[in-house]
């Protein structure tokens, strides 16, 4: 899941930070609406099913998270009789995404679900797609100059703000009343991680969750760096009681570092779900809790929005998908709502211990 | 008829032929070298000298003909075959490893392994034994070489040549082929190499010498075989000819088949 987090169009960042951090708003200031409002009536479903429409998925990268996204979209396609004709992975390269899109357009899809890596550099390719009449549904990132209801149907995204705050709440649970903590944040321009990290920091700084003192704050750019950072951190600041780290795969290194330092007492809070860390959590290791979003639900909602576009039904411009707090007792249940796949056997076994 | 026939041939080639694509590099070349004899292999550039050397040293096996070592017919399919049959070649570029020391070069691919059978199995080297042996074989050649642990790259051209020749003789070769051993050397160093050649032939080694230097050939060799466009056109005793005659053979102005 290294980098499903994307560079974002600067204007988007600017508009987001202009709005108060309390409420998530879309790139054009549209208020966020919950994704639960997106639904089709029976007759609308019938219309779509009879149309024999085609869809394409133009993703940014690949990961288990993207797999869940695809699974959600496919589930909706199956219900609606939509044929999935093409699926691409840009490997986080905007240039590759542009050519991916051009290649997919040869298949004449009626709708395209995509996470745009760089809204500025792929615009000309998307212009052609829009001109060809494809319905565009975006994940998180906007395309410069595009308007909802005009060039694209709508944007679906995580509640990153809410996730950051939830991480702070979990921190308060792990260290009741507050204490000394370390923060290992993503030091790169990625909208999703930046928003979550910032929301976490703001919530901690507000003092609402307890008297926390951030003893050390270190950034990383690659997941492989976090082990060294965590080792150095506990060496310098042995009084730490908990560490926040931006996401799951990066937390693996942190946990390895804490383990090597002989500090099972330091609790770790992070985002997203990964089997390795969940096993650690299940076996009473360092990971105390995580905040997981729902990629399957995002994929499903995006597919429905695509159908909105085909039907010319007025669609919400900016929809937000919820999240779950994951503690040891809720692992099995959250795994199901996140990935819609059975719990990996090893994790199952770890939970039974 | 000469006295050579009374001697024992160390290396005999019979009707050797070799083609490269459309080019007939060698055609029915035959000659022999007796023990303790120094034979010059002469010819203009492209006459087939290098091809012949490669055929005999196993780099390019010949298309047709026979090679006999000590009157036994043999197959030379690789450089390793040639070395095992007692044919050693001192290549023009010497085939030494610049960063290796003298002892390591002398025993390249002929390393002495440790006496302990278990370590032997692992290919454990006995560097001490190799140094001692190297000392002995260099002394045998009266070579003035500095420290045996000196890297080859730090030696002079003549010293490197001496090491390469010592390596050939060291492994108990019956036949030593030398490709232009003095081409890159000064007068004094050339003289040292000539001495070395005389020394090893006096010890019974058969030497095939490739050279462009007529002076050198007249001084060191007993006999000369001349190639012209892939065929042997002359096989003469040095004492019977003048340098002018040899040049005549090389250029094709004279022709004489022995």
């Amino acid at each position: 899941m290294t980098m499903r987090f994307l560079t974002i169009f600067l204007a988007f960042l600017a508009s987001i930070s202009a709005v108060s951090a309390a409420e998530l708003r879309g790139p054009l200031g549209n208020p966020a609406t919950p994704v639960s409002g997106i639904a089709l009536s029976d007759s609308e479903r019938q219309t779509i099913r009879q149309g024999g429409y085609k869809a394409a998925l133009v993703w940014h990268g690949s990961s288990t998270w993207v797999n869940a996204l695809t699974a959600g979209a496919k589930a909706a396609f199956d219900e609606l009789g939509i044929r999935l004709v093409g699926q691409t992975d840009a490997q986080f390269d905007p240039a590759k995404q542009a050519s991916d899109l051009e290649n997919v357009m040869a298949l004449e899809p009626d709708m395209i679900l995509t996470l745009v890596i760089d809204g500025a550099s792929v615009k000309s390719s998307f212009d052609k797609a829009v001109k060809a009449g494809a319905e565009l549904v975006l994940l998180s990132n906007p395309i410069s100059g595009y308007q909802p209801g005009r060039e694209y149907v709508g944007i679906v995204t995580d509640d990153m703000q809410g996730m950051g705050v939830a991480a702070a709440e979990l921190m308060a649970e792990a260290v009741p009343g507050g204490g000394n903590i370390g923060v290992i944040y993503h030091d790169a321009d990625y909208f999703i991680t930046n928003t979550r990290d910032r929301a976490f920091m703001n919530a901690i700084d507000s003092g609402e969750h307890g008297a926390f003192s951030v003893k050390a704050k270190r950034g990383f750019t690659k997941e492989s760096e976090t082990s060294s950072i965590a080792s150095a951190m506990v060496l310098q600041y042995p009084m730490l009681e908990a560490v926040y780290v931006s996401w799951d795969a990066a937390a693996e290194g942190v946990i390895a570092g804490l383990r090597a330092a002989g500090r099972p007492d330091i609790k770790v809070i992070t985002h997203d779900l990964g089997v390795n860390n969940l096993v650690d959590m299940a076996m009473g290791g360092n990971l105390y809790a995580s905040v997981a979003d729902r990629p399957y639900e995002i994929g499903y909602a995006m597919a429905l929005l695509g159908a909105y576009g085909i039907l010319d039904k007025p669609a919400p411009a900016f929809s937000v998908v919820g999240f779950d707090k994951v503690r040891r007792d809720s692992i099995a249940q959250v795994w199901q709502s996140t990935y819609h796949t059975p719990l990996p056997p090893l994790l199952q076994r770890a939970l039974q211990q | 008829m000469s006295s050579e026939e009374l001697k024992q041939p160390a290396l005999t080639v019979k009707n050797i032929s070799k083609r490269f694509g459309g080019i007939q590099a060698l055609q029915n070349v035959s000659f022999n070298i007796n023990k303790g004899e120094v034979v010059a292999l002469l010819g203009d550039n492209g006459a087939g000298k290098s091809t012949l050397v490669r055929c005999v040293s196993g780099i390019h096996p010949p298309d047709g003909g026979e090679i006999l070592v000590n009157d036994q017919q043999v197959t030379v399919a690789s450089p390793q075959d040639a070395r095992e049959l007692g044919i050693e070649t001192v290549h023009q570029d010497l085939a030494v490893i610049p960063d290796f020391d003298i002892a390591a070069n002398l025993f390249l691919n002929r390393e002495i392994l440790h006496k302990n059978p278990l370590l032997r199995l692992l290919g454990w080297l006995d560097n001490k034994a190799m140094r001692e042996q190297a000392q002995i074989s260099l002394q045998r050649l009266n070579s003035k070489v500095p420290d045996l642990t000196e890297a080859i790259s730090r030696l002079s051209g003549g010293q490197r040549q001496a090491v390469a020749i010592a390596r050939a003789v060291n492994s108990g070769a019956d036949v030593v082929i030398m490709d232009e051993p003095t081409a890159a050397l000064g007068v004094e160093q050339s003289a040292q190499v000539n001495e070395l050649i005389n020394l090893i032939s006096s010890q019974g080694v058969a030497v095939l010498l490739i050279s462009h230097n007529m002076q050198h050939v007249m001084e060191t060799c007993d006999r000369a075989v001349v190639l012209l466009r892939g065929e042997s056109i002359a096989n003469v005793k040095i004492s019977d000819v003048t340098p002018r005659d040899l040049v005549g053979f090389i250029t094709g102005a004279q022709r004489l088949t022995a």
């Binding site: 950034g219 750019t221 082990s227 076996m283 | 085939a95 490893i97 392994l113």
Partner: protein, 322 residues
């Protein structure tokens, strides 16, 4: 021949300026520098040095392996990808078979990749750079495919202990792995016939062939060693992290090449130093650790690391040209 007194003077000056020793000076200087500047943050402590060793061991093991490939004149770009594949194979096998079988299975991944690399290079007579660039892609793809990008946890305590998480008092098992593999590598390269033939092939390929050395066999063997070492590095990552994922090792390739080059091994064959590779990799780890402890921002760390690398390589290469 030089007169003895002149030889001596040269010999002493040369002995100290030899490129082979360069990495040790840089290492000691770096150590001193951080010890002085970071005296208040426990840089100079057993715990911290053990941290550095622990974090660096996979890179060290890969550097030792790559030294063999480079000694024979080949580069191997696929080692980073082998790390991930071997770690995943080990993690998956551990769910089915006993620990030793899983370990052997993972190491066989390395052996197989080395053989494939070697055979392709020798048969197609294409540069190792291009072939291993290709196999790197294939292996990365296979690793991603194998578990569909999911990470695989390892809950086998004995495996985790032996391959990274265990320690005897303050001494991490990873230090023992480093010392053991370094000793093995040194003996193989310096004391065995294989090492001598490999260096001969790297130093003068035509010459080695003319002396009857099978250059093909020797080089294939070197590539097998390089990717087997990478597979072991994968096991050591998996044991430390208690699990495997397809991203393991992906960031290591350049660090490994830099460590080996700074350590005095020629990138073009014939000259190699195992000890240099070990110290070179420790140097990289030390710089990383020191920069984190010094509280620089991520960007400043990147700049500092780059500058140190350029300076080190520049001095090293200049020394080589003498």
């Amino acid at each position: 021949m030089l007169p003895p007194e002149k030889l001596n003077k040269h010999a002493i000056a040369n002995a100290f300026l030899r490129r082979e020793y360069f990495v040790y000076y840089v290492f000691i200087l770096t150590l001193l520098f951080f010890t002085v500047t970071l005296h208040d943050v426990s840089f100079f402590s057993v715990t911290n040095f053990m941290n550095v060793i622990r974090q660096t061991t996979p890179v060290t093991i890969m550097a030792i392996g790559l030294t063999f490939a480079l000694a024979g004149g080949h580069i191997d770009l696929s080692i980073g990808a082998v790390v991930a594949l071997a770690a995943l194979v080990a993690a998956l096998l551990l769910q089915m078979v006993p620990v030793p079988v899983a370990v052997i299975g993972a190491l066989m991944v390395g052996v197989a990749v080395g053989l494939i690399n070697g055979l392709l290079i020798e048969w197609l007579k294409v540069s190792s750079l291009l072939i291993t660039l290709g196999t790197m892609g294939v292996i990365t793809g296979v690793a991603r495919q194998l578990t569909n990008l999911e990470s695989v946890p390892i809950i086998e305590p004995s495996f985790n202990f032996v391959f990274g998480s265990g320690s005897f008092g303050p001494v991490s098992v990873l230090l023992l792995w480093t010392l053991g593999i370094a000793a093995l590598g040194y003996l193989l390269l310096r004391k065995c016939r294989f090492g001598r033939h490999l260096l001969a092939v790297g130093g003068n390929e035509k010459g080695a062939r003319a002396m009857g050395i099978s250059t093909i066999k020797v080089r294939i063997m070197a590539l097998v060693l390089a990717s087997s070492a990478a597979a072991l590095a994968g096991l050591l990552y998996a044991g430390r992290l208690h699990g495997a994922r397809y991203t393991l090792g992906e960031a290591d390739l350049l660090t490994v090449i830099a460590a080996v080059a700074i350590g005095g091994t020629s990138l073009f064959g014939g000259r190699a130093s195992i000890l240099g590779a070990v110290i070179g990799s420790w140097l990289m780890g030390l710089i990383n650790n020191g920069l984190i402890l010094s509280g620089f921002s991520t960007n400043e760390q990147m700049i500092a690391r780059g500058v140190i690398l350029v300076v080190a390589v520049a001095i090293g290469v200049k020394e080589q040209q003498k």
